[in-house]
């Protein structure tokens, strides 16, 4: 049975090797720009989820953009990622209730949040995943003070749930680890400039 939890991690671990390179870069950008949106985020945007930062304790996070190379897009597909206004509502409520607290805490404290998330995610009848990922949530704002949340997630061991056999008869396999011998999207972007 999947253990559902969110464990808050020490944000300083991001800068000292406890997260991947993209998380470290993102946090460095946040510190360097005092949380103000800046051009350095453009190359990282494909990896990010962007939320309206005006949500209250009673509201659900409103996703505005889902990066096409984000963990969510990898798991749920580009079709899901290209409908941000309705995407979150298609996920199981248990998952939403578990993960939304991190967004709310980030808004309340106006400080980055770094977490380990372990849960199950169901989406439609074809996606049933046992998730384990690190998540970095950063409170950015515009020059006029309008808040946005930028979220980056890095898979640290997501698996399809070992339940019924898949319709194609194949056994479920672990998702490939992006940073194990593979060039990350941000590295590709930098190398092409």
């Amino acid at each position: 049975m999947t253990k559902n939890f969110v464990q808050e991690l020490n944000i300083t671990d991001v800068l000292s090797g406890g997260a991947d390179e993209e998380a470290r870069r993102l946090l460095e950008v946040w510190y360097a720009n005092n949380g103000i949106l800046c051009d350095e985020l453009i190359s990282l945007a494909p990896l990010l989820l962007i939320f309206d930062g005006s949500m209250t304790t009673a509201s659900k996070p409103e996703m505005l953009l889902c990066g096409e190379q984000s963990l969510a897009a990898q798991l749920l597909g580009n079709e899901w990622a290209e409908q941000p206004e309705s995407a979150v509502s298609t996920l199981n409520k248990q998952y939403i209730n578990l993960i939304e607290q991190g967004y709310k805490r980030t808004l309340q404290t106006n400080r980055p949040t770094f977490e380990l998330v372990s849960t199950s995610l169901q989406h439609s009848q074809t996606t049933d995943l046992k998730l384990r990922y690190q998540r970095l949530i950063l409170p950015f704002q515009t020059s006029l003070g309008a808040p946005f949340l930028l979220s980056y997630s890095h898979d640290v061991g997501t698996h399809p749930r070992l339940t019924d056999p898949k319709p194609n008869g194949k056994s479920p396999q672990s998702l490939p680890r992006r940073n194990m011998g593979q060039t990350s999207p941000s590295r590709l972007a930098r190398s092409s400039n």
Binding site: D39, A45, S54, L64, S143, A146, F148
Partner: protein, 85 residues
């Protein structure tokens, strides 16, 4: 609407009695994005769907999709900035 700050009028549909064309509406939206400090999202969306970083150069058949993506973000930026003031 006449007493609203300029940037809150970004959804102009007319100049006088002439309806704005799609390019004019695009520039109106992008002006609002610049003023509200969220132009970075316009660039991000333009790169994602059209492979370049200058949304003001979008062709007319590209504007609808781009506009639908950016409009909620600019609305959020303007609305939430106004709440802070």
């Amino acid at each position: 609407m006449d007493n609203c700050p300029h940037y809150l009028k970004y959804k102009h549909l007319y100049v006088g009695e002439r309806a704005l064309n799609r390019h004019e509406q695009l520039h109106d939206l992008l002006d609002a994005a610049e003023i509200s400090g969220c132009y970075i999202f316009a660039v991000i969306i333009c790169i994602r769907f059209y492979g370049h970083s200058n949304p003001r150069e979008l062709k007319v058949h590209q504007i609808d999709r781009f506009y639908n993506w950016l409009d909620p973000i600019v609305s959020a930026a303007l609305h939430n900035a106004a709440r802070k003031q």
